[in-house]
Amino acid sequence: MTLLNISKLYKSFGGLSAVLDFNFQMEERELVGLIGPNGAGKTTVFNLITGIYKPDRGEIVFRESDLVGMSPYNICARGIARTFQNIRLFNDLSVLDNVKIACHKQVPYSLLGAIMRSPAFFEGEEQIEQEALKYLKVFNLADKRDELAKNLPYGEQRRLEISRALATQPTLLILDEPAAGMNPQETNELMQLIEMIRSEFGLAVLLIEHDMSLVMGVCERIYVLDYGQIIAEGLPHEIRNNKKVIEAYLGEELN
C-alpha cells in the first residue's frame, strides 16, 4: 500500500519557485532518500509535508487522507514525525522531559485529573515515564535523562532529537540531514541505527542527506531534487550513474 503520495506540488516564495511539479511516492516500511544540491528545495518539501508551509497547489496524501491545510500537530497525530536540519530541542528542559513532551499526545489522564492529582494521574505519569525511557534506551541516552538537553554533546543532541520524534509513534519518520556535522565513524553508527529503528519500530524513513556514503549505503530508493523539481528517481546504483544527477551536482560538461 502506498504510504505517502505527493502529486503536482507547487510552492513559491515571493515569485520564486521553491518547489514545482513535485511528484513522489513512498511505500510502508520503505527507506527513501531525497538528495540534491544546496538550495534545491529539499527542506521546503519537508516543511510542506509536515504542515509548516502551505503548498500553493498539489496534493499530499498520507494513508489515504489529504494533509494539505492540516496543522502540524494534526499531521503529527496522523503519524509523521521529523527532525530538523538545525537541531531544535527544548533546550532548557531535561532529556527525559524532551521525550515526555512527545508522548503527550497519548496522555492517559484528564486535565482535571492532573490538577486534582487523581490516581489515574500517577499511573499515567508512570506510564509516560516508562515509555519515554524506552526510547531513550534505544539511543543509549537513558543515563543522561536528567541532564539539560542543551548540555549534551552534538551527536547526542542529534540522537535525542530522533528519539523524541520516535516517541510520537510515527509510521513515517522524516530525518533532515541526520549526519550533518558527524565524523565517518558516527555516520556509520547512525546508518546502523536507522536500519535498526526501521525494523524494530516497523516504520518508513525519509531522509535528506548530503553524505553520499550514508544515502547510498542505507536507502532503498533515491529521489534527486534540483531547482524544486525531481530530476531522477531510482535505485542507488542507477542514481550514481545518472547523467542528469552528475550534471546537477558538478555542473554541465564543457563542450
Partner: protein
C-alpha cells in the same frame, strides 16, 4: 461638509505630532527590533525642556524646540547606551521589559524632580490667533505644528536617503552582521538612530505643549501609545509608513471626538491596533515574512 473639512484641518496638526513620534518608534524598531516603550517619555522630557527654555531663559518657541531636540538627542543616546546596549543579544521580551523600566524611570524621576502637577505653557511662547479662511477657522498653532513637523520630516528623509549616516542606518536595519563586515560601526549607527528619533520626539513634545497648552510628567504615555499604533499601522520599521500612520491616527482621533463620544477617543486607537494586528500585523506598507525553519 464644511464641518468635515474643519475636522480634517484640526486632525492634520495632531496627526503631524503623532507622525513625528511614530518616526522614532519605527526607526528604532527597524534597526534593533525593540519597541522603545520609553519613547513617549522622551517626548515628555522634550516638552519640559522647551517649557523651561521659554520660562527660565525667555527664548522664543523655535529656540526652545531646538534646545529640546538637542537635550533629548543626548538623552536618547544615553538611554540606549546604558539600558538597551547590554541587552542587544537578549530576548526581545527582556528588552521590552527594560524599555518599560526606562519609561517608568523617566516619568517618575520627572515627578520626583519637578512635582506631579501640570504646567501651563506660557502665552508669551505662542500667542494663539484664529484666521478665517473660506469659512474655515484656522488656528496659527495648527499651522505652526503642521509646518514645522513637515520641515522636520523633509530633513529626516534627506538624512536617510542622501547622507552617509542615513545609508549606514539603512544598511544596519537590513542586515546588522553584513553591515559590520562592510566596516559600518553598528554602535555609532544605533546611537545616531536614537539621537535622531529622540530629537524628533522632543520637537513633538514642544508641539504638544503649544497644541494642548499644558504639559505634565505622564503626558507621554497616551500619545506615545497612539504613535506606536501609528507606526504599526504604517508597517513598523518603514519610515513613510510611520508618517502616513501618524496622520491617519490624528484624523481618526479628531473624527471620533468631533462626531462620536470623546470618552472612546483612546479606546479607538487601541481598537485600531487590535484590528491591524489581527488582519495584517505587518501594517499597510509591510511585507509578510514567515519564520525560517
Amino acid at each position: 461638509m464644511l464641518e468635515l473639512i474643519q475636522q480634517l484641518v484640526n486632525g492634520l496638526s495632531l496627526g503631524a505630532i503623532y507622525a513625528l513620534i511614530a518616526l522614532g518608534y519605527t526607526m528604532v524598531y527597524g534597526i534593533i527590533k525593540l519597541i522603545n516603550f520609553a519613547h513617549g517619555d522622551v517626548m515628555m522630557v522634550g516638552a519640559f525642556v522647551g517649557y523651561f527654555s521659554v520660562t527660565l531663559l525667555g527664548t522664543n518657541i523655535l529656540v526652545a524646540m531646538l534646545a529640546a531636540m538637542a537635550v533629548c538627542a543626548f538623552l536618547g543616546v544615553i538611554i540606549e547606551k546604558v539600558a538597551y546596549r547590554p541587552l542587544r543579544n537578549a530576548t526581545r521580551i527582556a528588552s521590552l521589559i527594560t524599555a518599560i523600566g526606562v519609561s517608568f524611570l523617566l516619568e517618575y524621576l520627572t515627578i520626583f524632580l519637578i512635582g506631579p502637577n501640570q504646567k501651563v505653557f506660557p502665552a508669551s511662547a505662542f500667542t494663539v490667533k484664529a484666521y478665517d479662511i473660506a469659512g474655515l477657522s484656522i488656528l496659527n498653532k495648527d499651522v505652526f505644528v503642521f509646518v514645522s513637523a513637515l520641515v522636520l520630516m523633509v530633513i529626516l528623509q534627506y538624512i536617510i536617503k542622501y547622507t552617509k549616516t542615513g545609508k549606514a542606518m539603512r544598511a544596519v536595519s537590513l542586515d546588522m552582521e553584513a553591515a559590520v563586515l562592510m566596516g559600518i560601526s553598528v554602535d555609532k549607527t544605533i546611537s545616531m538612530t536614537f539621537a535622531i528619533g529622540s530629537a524628533l520626539a522632543a520637537a513633538a513634545g514642544v508641539m504638544v505643549g503649544v497644541y494642548y497648552n499644558t504639559i505634565n510628567p505622564l503626558m507621554g504615555i497616551i500619545p506615545g501609545l497612539k504613535a506606536f499604533v501609528a507606526a504599526v499601522l504604517g508597517g513598523i520599521g518603514i519610515i513613510p509608513g510611520a508618517m502616513v500612520g501618524g496622520f491617519v491616527m490624528g484624523l481618526l482621533e479628531t473624527m471620533v471626538s468631533g462626531y462620536g463620544n470623546s470618552l472612546y477617543r483612546d479606546a479607538v486607537a487601541f481598537g485600531v491596533l487590535i484590528l491591524i494586528l489581527l488582519i495584517k500585523p505587518t501594517g499597510i506598507f509591510g511585507k509578510d515574512s514567515g519564520e525560517k525553519v
